[in-house]
Amino acid sequence: MAPEWLRRAWYLVNRRRFERALREEMDAHRELMREPRRFGNDLRLREQAGDAWGWTWLDELGRDLVCAARQLRRSPGFTIGAAGMLSVGVGLNLAVFQIMNASVFRPLPVRDLASLVRFTWDSKDGRSRNVPYRAVAAIRARNSVLSAVLTRNPSMAIWEDGDRPLVAMFVSANWFQELGFDAARGRVFREGVDDQPDAAPAVVVSHKFWEQRLGSDPIVVGRTIHVNDRAATLVGVAPAGFPGVRYDNTAIWIPVAQIDYFTPGNRLKDSWDESTFLYARLQRGVSPAAATDSLRAVFEDLSLERPELFQRSD
């Protein structure tokens, strides 16, 4: 019987294949269910399944290293000592590092990565989860340290009359602009336009999706398409390699303001139980530590208004 570390290494090397197999069998499972809704949130479950293998730290480490490298450049004396000690550990793990290098250690090519932060909601039992979407408006309105607040909400959706759901990401209207990307064709979402209640339904497709499903059609922008049987305008194609914030296979992006139109009955905006991935830009000169202190006041207000949110122990 192979030891556990070998199985874990095997998983790491064949990660994509394992993930594909898992997705296949979860899809198959849902097909067989009478009430597929009871299956649970696909993306969350897949992330949890991936976490079971214990490599999440490696993904996180990749991002942390980028941040650490910046700090180290400022204090070279410390860098030399630390580099000596680290190289022992790195040498031992070299096989793993080389395999991961291509996909994980490449820093996210977003604009000004240092001022981009992610929020999690930590409960007393030490677990962290995403932030209730309902809290986002309060955070956005009441803080004085953030220059922008971004959200992303993964979902599955059906494109035209396709038979397999694809990953649709409902994002804040500033998503592309704040990450520093314009469209490869057409336009990306705009604040003040796509976040308005009367905005026309709009979809941006990934470059890969445009190539593979739309045959790189050069005049695709402006066309009416259907997502979950809802008509919308394809307003743009994202640039090739537009970054995800984690392993990202998003096929289409939709403004989160339009989530009710595309997925009727969803409760993201109404329920304190529905959470969102929440990111923000720190204002110039504000350190993450200072931002945390300043935001504590916002959360204290929230805790007075919704005490039960801060006491859940599940």
Binding site: M1, A2, E4, R7, R8, Y11, A21, L22, E24, E25, M26, D27, A28, H29, E31, L32, M33, R38, F39, G40, N41, D42, L45, R46, Q48, A49, G50, D51, A52, W53, G54
Partner: protein
């Protein structure tokens, strides 16, 4: 423990495991079915189950999970432990 238990008789794929747990528990236990998959990954990592490719009733490519020898041992020790704890609790409740 429940997953290992339902796999003692025969190898099953994910949907069948969920059905079996639901039925065997006299429909008392009904969890979010998808949460089965993170649990299965853990069992795979520990080497307590092995996966082989199979085809579902709808003709989809799935994996069938089979209990390994070390999985059997793990189940036995978990069942022992469970019995020990429930026995202790019920003794406590009836004597307190």
């Amino acid at each position: 423990m429940l997953i290992l238990r339902v796999l003692t008789n025969e190898p099953l794929h994910g949907y069948a495991i969920a059905q079996r747990i639901h039925l065997l528990s006299k429909e008392q236990l009904s969890v979010e079915e998808g949460s089965l998959y993170p649990a299965l990954q853990k069992l795979l990592m520990k080497g307590w189950v092995k996966a082989t490719p199979a085809v579902s009733e709808t003709g989809r490519q799935v994996r069938e999970y089979r209990l390994t020898a070390s999985g059997k041992k793990q189940l036995d020790s978990e069942v022992d432990e469970y019995r020990r704890v429930t026995h202790a609790i019920s003794t406590l409740l009836s004597n307190a």
